[in-house]
Structures are given as structure tokens and as C-alpha cells.
């Protein structure tokens, strides 16, 4: 079985994010990057399929930054090889999808896995776009998967319930939390990952479909205000109760 897992490099969910000086990108200084948490479910599922049916697992990422670190992490979890496509600038979903589709179109993957979303920009678009570009069926937010030969049965989370769908390989699957319990990478595997191959593929030029105009952090308003019993403070309380809190 020939399996591809598309992974992304995202800021650690515990990291404090700052906006870069251009107002359009995240300031990457001092930010710790990790393998997108949803991609771990995708990787685990692919590795289990390989363990059951034989074959190979390839991890792939498209990134403007050096993302070989998270590819090594995917290799430590059990992927056999990796593909790194370095973008000249922060790519949009459309460019990423084109690059994935372009680099794998001749590689005959039976299943292409994704996390249901990247927890950085949360666009939810790439799995469906890649499937469309490759003209293969796709199913998103999968929480249970069964693969028998070329027949694939996927259960997906829908509002208030589950939906079961059937499709055939080749196909694209995006993984939901709960699809499996991702393994802990073992220490010898972390060391062995250093020796596994990462192939660098040139960026496929295609124009971006959307442009980021600005990004901003949620404003954290100070809630408390300390006022004394001076006349001006009392006036301020009355004004504030009328105008800010609008309670009188």
C-alpha cells in the first residue's frame, strides 16, 4: 500500500503569538513549531495501514520555512521517507494544494491523508482542493476508517451524529481527533529518523488565490478600573455606569 500523509508545521499551541512587523505574518522569532496535532492522527492511521498491509508511508509538507524538523518527527513516528517543498513566501491554501497535487500526481498513492485542519490558519481547504486537483474522491473529518483492498469505508462526524460513506482508492482522507491513539515515538526511532531520506522538490509556481491583508491578535481589554472617593472619580463612576456599562 502506497500511503501519503500531508503534514504541516504550526506554532506550538502553548506558544504566545506575536504579529510580525508587516502586519500580515506571524513573528516566528522564538516561536516553537510542532507537527500539526491533527496530522498525528493522519500519520498514525497511515502507519497502522502499512503495518497491516505492507507498503510505504511518505510524509510531505509545503512550507516557506525550513520544515525538515517536523518531517523528522513524522519519520520518527514511522514514516519511511519524506518530501519537502520549500515555498518562496508564505503560500496560501491554493498554492499548497497545487504543489501537493503536482508533486504526487505520478506517484500512485492509494490513500492520501491529511489532518482535518492546520491549527495555525484553520482554512480547512487543502484536503478537498488536493482531491479535486487530482480528480479523486475525498472525505473529511474522518473518525473511523476501514480499508479492504480498494474499498474504503469512512465514518465522519456530522452535527449531532455520524455519517458512514463508502469510496474507493485512490482517495483523500482528512483525519479527525479520535480516529486513533497516536503512538509515542520511541527513542531509538527518533535516532533512526535522522538517517531516513528527505527529498527536496522545487516549488511549483502558481498564483495565490487569496491575499492576506492583515492579521491581528484579539484585544485583551483590561476589565478592572480602580477609582477612589474623590469628586472627579465619583463623576467618572456615574459616567461609566451610564455610558460604558449602560446599566443606568
Amino acid at each position: 500500500m502506497n500511503l501519503l500523509v500531508c503534514v504541516s508545521r504550526v506554532p506550538d499551541t502553548a506558544t504566545k503569538i506575536f504579529v510580525g512587523p508587516d502586519g500580515k505574518t506571524i513573528d516566528s522569532k522564538g516561536v516553537k513549531y510542532i507537527l500539526n496535532p491533527y496530522d498525528e492522527f493522519a500519520l498514525e492511521e497511515a502507519i497502522r495501514l502499512k503495518e497491516k498491509n505492507g507498503g510505504e508511508v511518505t510524509a510531505l509538507t509545503v512550507s516557506a520555512d525550513d520544515a525538515t524538523d517536523i518531517l523528522r518527527n513524522a519519520l520518527a513516528m514511522g514514516a519511511d521517507s519524506a518530501i519537502f517543498i520549500k515555498a518562496p513566501a508564505e503560500p496560501d491554501s491554493y498554492q499548497v494544494a497545487h504543489n501537493i497535487a503536482n508533486s504526487v500526481k505520478d506517484k500512485n498513492f492509494d490513500l492520501i491523508f491529511f489532518g482535518r485542519q492546520s491549527v495555525d490558519f484553520d482554512s480547512f481547504q487543502i484536503p478537498s482542493m488536493v482531491a479535486e486537483l487530482l480528480n479523486i474522491p475525498s472525505v473529511s473529518v474522518v473518525s473511523k476508517l476501514e480499508v479492504n483492498g480498494s474499498k474504503v469505508i469512512a465514518e465522519r462526524d456530522i452535527e449531532g451524529g455520524k455519517e458512514t460513506v463508502e469510496l474507493s482508492t485512490p482517495c483523500a482522507i482528512s483525519a479527525q481527533k479520535g480516529l486513533n491513539e497516536p503512538r509515542y515515538p520511541k527513542l531509538p526511532d527518533i535516532m533512526k529518523a535522522k538517517k531516513k531520506p528527505i527529498e527536496e522538490v522545487a516549488f511549483f509556481q502558481v498564483d495565490a488565490a487569496v491575499e492576506v491583508i492583515s492579521i491581528a491578535l484579539p484585544v485583551n481589554k483590561r476589565v478592572g478600573k480602580i477609582l477612589g472617593d474623590s469628586d472627579s472619580d465619583i463623576n467618572e463612576i456615574v459616567r461609566s455606569l451610564h455610558e460604558d456599562a449602560k446599566v443606568i
Binding site: 524538523d69 523528522r72 518527527n73 509515542y184 515515538p185 527513542l187 527518533i190 535516532m191
Partner: protein, 385 residues
């Protein structure tokens, strides 16, 4: 943002993986095992599966092939949640497999190391009832008769020595006198299956309650020459060098415990309210937390740097004593503040603070007491010359 300390991608990933394992597998059981004073075969097997038992052994012996700093990071991360499991790993690697790897013959290494990386444990028998700080006062003796050695004596407080999965221990014995009149010490490999050695588990510990601690008794215990570790007469030197490195793993336990106690105290202080405010906003608590954070940051820098020295094969007698002393006293202070910040709840078993408070105490005693560390440092800086 945090200082990156020049960790490699592998070291960061390894730390994150071990932290997840410690949080998800060890932490939920730590309190219960401590309460029952029970060694967990299940967790030990899972740790073996993760590759913790052969942390720095090369692949050819079934080890994980890690650098020394990566090993220390593992110990630190486990101690952040549970000192007992950290003790099993630290003692097994630094004191158990370490000397066999450093001084063993090829046959000894090929025979024991793969088993020790794969799930069996090994003890390090130095301390005796009358020889702790004063290891030179070792009473255990071995004499040679027709190519066979006979050992008599006893050892006490030996970590990992009497579990069902313990293969044996390295034992220091007096084997004669050197030409200059001083005692000659030799290390022997003694397997638990040897009928001349009896291993008894010690119960009733205040701390490290789910780590195995044992007494060893030797009565006409017979071993052949092949069971000498390294060369006859090298025993004391080997033990001292082993302790130099071993102290780094105790330092890692102190650092990890301090980190765990710090996080627990900070969380609690931000949630607990008195007089309408979170107690973390009272300066007396905030400053305690700031002090511990500062101590942890500095200790981590120092310890990691000494690990790099050790990996380069440099002599680290003073540095490992400093790391061990500083980190264990930091753990003491962190656990103390952690309990204080928890108030009455800090004294109850329901909270981790109480376990941190007990577990830290060993660190100021084991592998050389704090007094002995100060002795080592003051000797090296020339106080007694």
C-alpha cells in the same frame, strides 16, 4: 518565549515525547503506587518499550543510542511527574548499565547489555551499613582460591536490585592490599541467580516509594574470574567515575522535581483566591515563584552544559558535584514553597505537593550527601591544600 539552550531538533522532539509519555502513562498512577509502596512492572515494561532502559547504549546492544544530554532530559521529564520512576531509570542507566558499558569485557557487554536495554534491571552495590559517605570503609571481602572468588559481606540501599526482573548487581569488595598498604578494591558482577547472594527488598521508605531498594547478603558467594568487572584493583576508581556521571542524573531528578513543583505551585496560586484575589498576586507568593523560576532556568543551563562536557569525555568531578548539590537544594526549596503555597491542602495526599515534598529529600542524601558534595568541591578548589 524560552531560552533554546542549543538543543537539537531531536532533543526537543524527544523531550516532548517523553513529557507526553510521563503525563499520560506515569502521572495517573504515581500517587497510587506511592501510597501502596509498589514497584510497577507494567510501567517499567512500557519504559523499556520506549527505549528508556538502554538510553545511551549504542544500537548494537539494543540501546537507543542517545547522547548523554538526551538521557538527562529523559530523567528530568520523568522526575517532573514521578521521582520513583525517574529513580528506576536513572539508577539503571547511570549505575547499572553504565559501568558494564564503560568497563566490561566484550563478552560481558554482549551478554548483559542487550538484556538490560530490553527490560531487565541491574543494581550498583557500593553502600554498606558501615560504608556510605565513607565508601573506603567497605567491609565486603572477596578472596581467591584456585581461580574462584568467594565473596562475604553485605550491601544496603541498592536501587533496582531485588525486583523479579533484576538480572544482578555490580558489587564492590576488598580483594587485598596494595603494595603501599592501602586496600585493594575490585568490582564483581553477581547475578541474582547466584545462590551465594540473597536480595531482600527494603520497605517503609519515606520517598521513592515505588522504586525498588534492597539489601544484599553474600555468604560464601562464588564467582569466577570472568565475573570481575574490568581489572582487579580498579574497583574504587570505577565506582568514583561512575558516581561522577551518576550525580548528573540525580541533578536531573532535582531539576525535574523542581519544575513539577513549580508548575503545580504556580497553577494553584493563580486559581486559589483569598480576600478576593488570586494568592499569586500577593508579593510573598509571587516572589517565591519568581525565585524558583530563576533557580530552574540557571540550573538547567549549568546541568546541560556539564552533560556536554561529560559527552566530550572531560573530567567533571567538581561540575557534577555542583550540579547535583545545586539541583537537589533547588528541588528542596521548590517543594517547600509548593507545599506552603498550597496551604493546608499541600499537606494532604490528594495533591502532588506532598509527594514532591517527601521525594526531594533523597536527592540531598543519595549518591553522596550534600555535605560530601561540598567536601568534593572544597577539596578541588584547594581549601585543604
Amino acid at each position: 518565549m524560552s531560552i533554546n539552550r542549543n538543543l537539537t531538533n531531536e532533543q526537543i522532539f524527544l523531550r516532548d515525547s517523553v513529557r507526553r509519555f510521563a503525563e499520560e502513562v506515569i502521572k495517573p498512577q504515581a500517587k497510587d503506587l506511592d501510597e501502596k509502596e509498589e514497584f510497577s512492572y507494567e510501567i517499567t515494561a512500557q519504559m523499556a518499550e520506549m527505549g528508556f532502559l538502554g538510553a545511551f547504549l549504542p544500537e548494537k546492544y539494543g540501546g537507543s543510542g542517545l547522547d548523554y544530554l538526551s538521557y538527562i532530559i529523559i530523567v528530568e521529564e520523568i522526575a517532573r511527574v514521578d521521582s520513583s520512576q525517574a529513580a528506576t531509570i536513572a539508577a539503571h542507566n547511570s549505575l547499572g548499565t553504565g559501568p558494564i558499558y564503560d568497563y566490561g569485557s566484550d563478552e560481558q557487554k554482549e551478554n548483559y547489555l542487550p538484556q538490560l536495554a530490553g527490560g531487565k534491571l541491574w543494581g550498583f552495590g557500593l553502600t554498606e551499613p558501615e560504608a556510605g559517605s565513607d565508601a573506603g570503609n567497605t567491609k565486603t571481602r572477596a578472596y581467591q582460591e584456585q581461580g574462584e572468588w568467594t565473596i562475604n559481606g553485605s550491601k544496603i540501599f541498592i536501587t533496582n536490585a531485588s525486583t523479579d526482573i533484576t538480572l544482578g548487581s555490580t558489587v564492590l569488595a576488598v580483594t587485598g592490599q596494595q603494595p603501599d598498604g592501602r586496600k585493594e578494591f575490585t568490582s564483581f558482577i553477581v547475578e541474582n541467580s547466584n545462590p551465594g547472594m540473597e536480595c531482600r527488598q527494603m520497605k517503609g521508605k519515606m520517598m521513592w516509594r515505588s522504586s525498588n531498594t534492597s539489601e544484599l547478603y553474600f555468604s560464601d558467594c562464588k564467582v569466577t574470574n570472568e565475573y570481575i568487572l574490568g581489572k582487579r584493583g580498579d574497583g574504587f576508581k570505577q565506582m568514583l567515575a561512575t558516581l561522577d556521571k551518576g550525580r548528573l542524573s540525580i541533578a536531573a531528578m532535582g531539576l525535574g522535581l523542581a519544575q513539577g513543583a513549580f508548575e503545580s505551585a504556580l497553577n494553584y496560586a493563580k486559581q486559589r483566591k483569598t480576600f478576593g484575589r488570586a494568592i499569586s498576586t500577593y508579593q510573598s507568593n509571587a516572589f517565591k515563584l519568581a525565585d524558583i523560576d530563576m533557580g530552574i532556568e540557571l540550573a538547567r543551563n549549568y546541568l546541560y552544559e556539564v552533560c556536554r562536557m561529560a559527552a566530550r569525555g572531560e573530567k567533571i568531578t567538581k561540575e557534577s558535584a555542583i550540579a547535583k548539590l545545586y539541583c537537589s537544594e533547588l528541588a528542596h526549596k521548590a517543594a517547600d514553597h509548593c507545599v506552603q503555597i498550597h496551604g493546608g491542602y499541600g499537606l494532604m495526599k490528594e495533591y502532588d505537593a506532598e509527594r514532591f515534598y517527601r521525594d526531594q529529600k533523597l536527592l540531598e542524601i543519595g549518591e553522596g550527601t550534600s555535605e560530601i558534595q561540598r567536601l568534593v568541591i572544597s577539596r578541588i578548589i584547594g581549601c585543604f591544600d
